[in-house]
Every structure is written in structure tokens, then in C-alpha cells.
Amino acid sequence: MTATLEKDLVGLEFLSAEQIRLILDTAEPFKEVSERQIKKVPALRGKTIVNLFFEASTRTRISFEFAEKRLSADTVNVAASGSSVSKGETLVDTAKNLEAMRIDMVVMRHGASGAAQFLGNRIRSNVINAGDGKHEHPTQGLLDMLTIRDKVGRIEGVKVCLVGDIMHSRVARSNLWGLTKLGAEVAVCGPRSLLPRGIEQLGVRAFGRVEEAIEWADVLNVLRLQLERMEKGFIPSLREYYRVFGVTTERLERAPKPLTIMHPGPMNRGVEIDSRVADGPHSVILDQVTNGVAVRMAVLYLLAGGRPELADAAKGGGSE
């Protein structure tokens, strides 16, 4: 295995297929750590990590925090409210201050697209993008891919359709880049008012009707629909959205084969997804959450300079 990662993980657009496989393969041995009685290995002992969340997040922040703690890193959480950020500090100043404190890694979520790259270009520490605006959410893309690989046994040739608000979704973009690089067939489906311009030119097909997507796909990754989209006039109502685009058992029953159902969370039950689908036998939504910790452990480990072939040994103890 010759692939290595760059200093930062900003997005899957910038990774090669080899680099993506490296992360997914490195995540495999880390899955087991979370199944242990004592969920801790010393791989990142002595490393300091800041979790810098300019936007609210529960799942992603906790997932990163567990990944860090299970690798024995020292972590600090900074949320936007109550920090210097809410007092008008610029992103540049935040970056300079982190640099001055000699942090090893920064995990950042920010509302502006490009914020992770902006930070990464200005500090020596590793930067991991935990979601930047409408741009990318690379660890979500990776955990989605790991889950597909677990469930289907491969990624190449699998037909994955992202359903919902593609325009405003960083999850959609990371999935799109990662999956196409590993040879999956990717489609998007949603109201045309929520599909971004030129999306087909990125090598994906676009469905305007969810029935067509269900007929075509092996896997549906159903995206959260935010209430704000109705308020901003992209769709008339959540009620109608469910009627026209909702992933329901009735629609899935008409599919030629059972579909694997994914959702990056948090779910709006009864809006983009029917509860019976989310809780049904083909849902891997909670596997995604479990895989999230392993993928993030792999990313942290690799960016800290850990050697992939030693990942197995690293979780044993002695070797760091």
C-alpha cells in the first residue's frame, strides 16, 4: 500500500481512489475497538485535538470526540456560542490563535463553504473538515461508503441514489465524489428546485421522480430536508414533499428488488422518510453511525502519521 494522505482532509474531491480505499481499509481494524470492554488504544497519546464547531452538531461532534478519546488523544471542544467567535473574531484570528497554542489537529465544522481549506492553508496543524457550508462532509461520505461496502460487499458497480435537497447538501457532494471515484454508479433525485445547476456534468444521473430512482437504485441515501427550504420558497410544503418525494414502504414495495436504505441523520420521520422504512429490515442507518466512529478513528490515525499496516498493532497497546 503506497497511498498516503495530505496534511488535511478537506473533501473527497481531492482524494484519489487509492487514498479513499486506504481510509476505508484502515477503518476495518478500528471497528473492533468500539466493541471492546475497554474502548481505548494509545495510538494518539500526547496529541492535542480541538473540535471547533461553528455550527451546531450533535452526531458528528460526538462521533469525532469518541474517535479521539478511543485513540487516547487530548481533546478540547469549542462551540461557536460563548466563544470568541460569537464576539466577532474572524476565522483568520481563530486560526492564528490555534496555531499559537501548538494544536496537533483541528476538526472543524463551519457554515461557509471552503472554510476548512481556508483554515488548512493557514495553519500547520492537520485540519479535518467536519462539514463546510454546502461544500463537503468527507467523513460522512467515507462512513457511508464503508457502510455500503459492509452491506453489499463492494462499491464498484453499485447503484446509489442520493434523494432530497442536493443543492444545499455537503453530504451529497462528498458521497458523489467518493462513490464515483470507487466506481459506483451515482444518481441524485429531488425536486428540480433543489438540484444544483450542472450536476449531471459531474458524472451522475438526475431523477425528477422518486419512483424512477427507486426502480433504478440498489441503495438510497435519503437526505434530511430542512424546514428552512420551505420558508425560502424552494418547495411548497413538507407535507407535499412527503407525498411526492417521501421514501415510503408503498413506493419501495414496487421496486424490483429490496433497496438498502441509508440516512445521514438527523431524520425527519414522515417528511423525507417513512418511519417503517427507517426502522425496517433494509435500513442500515444505525450501522452508519457505528461506522462513523471507526472511519474517524482511521482518518485521525492516518493524518497523525500512523502507518496503515500497523493499525492492527496500534490498537493492541505498545506500538504507537
Binding site: 474531491e13 474572524t90 476565522l91 483568520v92 463551519h110 457554515g111 461557509a112 463553504s113 471552503g114 472554510a115 481549506q117 481556508f118 463546510d132 457550508g133 454546502k134 461544500h135 463537503e136 455537503r170 457532494r173 444544483p196 445547476r197 450542472g198 450536476i199 456534468q201 459531474l202
Partner: protein
Amino acid sequence: MTRPLLLRGGRVIDPRRDFDQTADVLVVDGKIAEVGPGLTGPDGADVRDVRGLVVAPGLVDVHVHLREPGNEDEETIATGARAAVAGGFTAVCAMPNTDPVTDNQAAVGFIVRQSVRAGLARVYPIGAVSVGQQGEQLAEFGEMVGAGAVAVSDDGKPVVSGHLMRTALEYARTFEIPVADHCEEPTLAAGGAMHEGLVSTRLGLKGIPAAAEEIMVARDLLLADLTGGHVHLCHMSTRGSVELIRSAKARGVRASAEVTPHHLVLTHAACEGYDTHAKMNPPLREPADVAALREGLKDGTIDCIASDHAPHAYDEKDAAFDDAPFGIVGLETAFAVAHTELVLGKVLTLPELVRRMSTVPAVLFRLPGGTLAAGAVADVCVLDITNPWVVRSAEFQSKSRNTPFADRELVGRAVLTVVAGRVVHEREGRPTR
């Protein structure tokens, strides 16, 4: 009175008279006295050897932001006027989106006084269309024109109300001034940071569709037709706008249009990597738009080049793309960018470029200059069009550094700028090659 000035042996270009030949230019008492071969100046004349250089009427920029009053940390009328003459401009028109807004005769008079005090380029104020640029009540055009305004505009913002635009075009006719509009349908452009297209989709940035500009261009052309007023369309950026203007002009609508050097040269690809120096409004568009703008400039559909010089403090641009302000500085690179890309790129001849950067804008805004005819004001630039130079933003005369052309090698530069017969800019160490 300043000393007489004799520019000897340059290639003299005066598009107004279709003049392009080697000649001497004699300036006396702030006016062009004579243009011809073998001139001898009066005793005591300042005689300059400009062989190998181009002598042209001083460049005229009908669209700059000089930030005074209100944001003197970014630019002042004096530093903006210094940047202008360094770029070969002898006259610039200052947009009224200052703080407070230049929407009354006292504010217009302040700009005139500051420019006289600076004593560099002529700075002509543009007054606001509406009080406070709020888009509601018409500003006092008559008093502003009396104080020195040469046009009205709410630039920085569109004139959203169709009724207000109509009234402005009608009312402006009394004073024979253009109404310059920043064409942007605000509900389509809201929250947008760059051109809506493949690059914005990839970068996850909200796009501004071409239609946001074209809807307002179409409206303004219809209102100009309705009222007989002169509408001047600022910084055109889309192929659709070019088409709309072309067909309106064919119908005889009183419209003029400008384009910036950057919209003629760069595309939305410049935003890759979230480079905030490629963030401007209107945004950089697609290669087909650039091609149409060049074609429009060539055939006169687009009348002139204007820089939309928009200084911003360095730390404002050092931000996430969404958070950075729109705009770039342009006075010190406009001619070089246009010459390198359009003249050396065989889109325009040099006399055609001078026409679009001097003669035509002077005519459109009824300004002195734009010609080297005997008796005209002696606003002159001497241009080196052979020696390449590298853009060093740290060396700008402007207070701001926000340019997407930093470190580019360009050909074309003002080595001498003369306003009213007085040398106001001279580049030292000019190569003699």
C-alpha cells in the same frame, strides 16, 4: 501657468480623428496646441523624447469606487486619483455608494473639492439616483449636477423599483445625464457569491444566475425606450446581456454599456480554491460569456471599458468566500490587462482599445478629453506597449491590494500621464529599449 510641454516622436493615436501616426504633440496653457511632425516648442518648453512609445488621449474610467467619505482606510479620493494617473487615467467617475451616500449637492461638492486638492486625475462625482440609495425617493439631480455630478447611479445596488427607474430616466433628460444602473434582480441574486454554474455547484457556493442580470438589462432597455432617457448599463457580464443590448440598439434605444477588464479576461474558474480575489459582483462567468463580451466590445454593442475599481482592506478579503466582500481594484492594471489580452490577443487594434477606454467614455458622460485635437484639454497618457512588467500589488498607489492579477506578467503601462498640461505621473527608470 505650467511650462509648455512637447512630446516628441511618439506614435500618436487619436481615435476621435482616426489619427494614428508618428508625430509630436505640443501642449500650451493646459490645451493641445498642435499635433504634427517636426514641431519645435517655445523657449523653456519641457521637451520629452517619447520615441517608441504611444501618445494617446488620457484614459477615462466612468466607474470607480473611491471610498471617501466613509472608508478612507481602503481608499481616498487622493489615493484613488494617484492610482488613476499611475494607470494612465486622466479622468474617473466616482460612484456615490460612499458613507454617507453622495446623494446631495453638498456631498457632490465635497468630492469635487477633494479632487481639486489632490490635483491628479479629474474626479467627476456620480450622484445617487435615490436618497440614501434606498430606492425610494428621487435624489436632487439638478442640484447635484449644479455641484459637478456628471451622472446618477445607485451602483452597488440595482434600482429595484421599475417606477423609480422610469422616473429617473425621465427626470435625468432635463440635465442630459445618463442613469447608470447596476443590473441585478435582487431576489434571484440574494445570497449568491459567484456565478451559478458548474463551479458553484462543485464548490457548494450559492450562485448568481445570468438571468439575474439579464432581467434587469431587459427592463432598463424597455424603460429607456419608453422614456427616451439615456440608460448606461454598468459592468455587463453575460452573453444574454450582450444580445439584449445589441437588439435594443438596433431599434434605436438610447443605451450605452460598459464591461470591466476582468469580465473580458477571467471566468468563474478563477474562484477555484475559494480565491476571494475572484469574488466580484457581477460574478466572473463562463468562457462563452467572455467571448460574447469581447465580440460586443469589438462591434460597439458594448461601448466602453470601465474598471469598477473597488478597493477593500486586505483582511476583509482574507476570509471565507461567503464572508468576503465583492470587488477588486483595477485602475493600475486595467490598461495592461486589456492591452495584453485584447490587443496582443488580436481582438482589438490599439486605436480601438484607446477608443473604448478614452474617447467613447468621455463622449458618453460628456467629459472633456478623449481626444488630442488642437484646442482640447491636454489630458494625455504616454504608454509603453512593448516592455513586459509584473503586477506587484504591494507597489500599487491605491491603498488596497485586492487584485486577481497579482504576479501576472503583462504588457502595456503608462509611463507619463498629463492632466491639463501638467505632468502628474511619471514612471521612473523607464527602460529605453
